[in-house]
Amino acid sequence: MTFLFYFVACLTIISALFVVLNRNPVYSAVMLVLCFFSIATLYLLLEAYFVAVLEIIIYAGAIMVLFLFVIMLLDLGREAALPKLKKLDKALSLFLVVIIFLGILTLTIWSGGDLHQTLNPSSVGDIKAVGKALFTDYLLPFEVASLLLLVALIGTVYLAKRRVK
């Protein structure tokens, strides 16, 4: 199980790198699907079963279909080359990324040893507990989320409508 975790973690990182570095948007989208599936596997290994199923249904199912539809609708094709950034832009971006990486790594590793504890098996992830929390403690955020989806639906329809001039 431990080996599986690290194997899937490597798979996640590699597919994420392919998403960012690939020139063809369709390949990027397919690699993103692979990334979502491996993240769902990680959720399974961390015993969050409900979230793992949601990850596959929502991300790999709904969101990626939407992405692929738009990519094919726009007929983008392959970029000639990865864009050349100005030297200053590139240096600043890399500096930012490295600073964030080192900062969080430092915080994580030297955090007083509290985080080094291994994760023990638990029964937290079962659907019953999640459902109970969702419909008792988090009922208001749940309803607000449904409102958000309604607003997004209306906004999308309005944006995608062809203007009649």
Partner: protein, 101 residues
């Protein structure tokens, strides 16, 4: 499952940084969108790790809400990209530098 929670945090950190690199380096609006999805997933992974660490179900509820937000964000964002492409015939963000339509 014997994995320290810090390894989960470092994995989610790496994913988040890959997402940041995608947003900073790429000029294709759709790839930038995918990178934002990667960053949201990195945060979700971190939340799940800590939910496991604290033996609490709250993190999973937050992940549920983040997924709802991501779905809403993608539908509106892709609609904006389609509208943009219809007006400008490009989604290269270097060429889209005017706020007025």
């Amino acid at each position: 499952m014997i994995v320290p929670v810090e390894h989960v945090v470092i994995l989610s950190l790496l994913l988040f940084l890959i997402g940041i690199m995608g947003v900073l380096f790429r000029r294709n609006a759709i790839i930038i969108f995918m990178s934002i999805e990667l960053m949201l997933n990195a945060v979700n992974l971190c939340l799940i790790g800590f939910s496991r660490y604290h033996q609490s179900v709250d993190g999973q509820v937050f992940v549920f809400l983040v997924m709802t937000l991501a779905a809403a964000e993608v539908s509106v964002g892709l609609a904006i990209i389609v509208a943009l492409y219809r007006n400008r015939q490009t989604i290269n963000i270097d060429e889209i530098n005017l706020m007025r339509g």
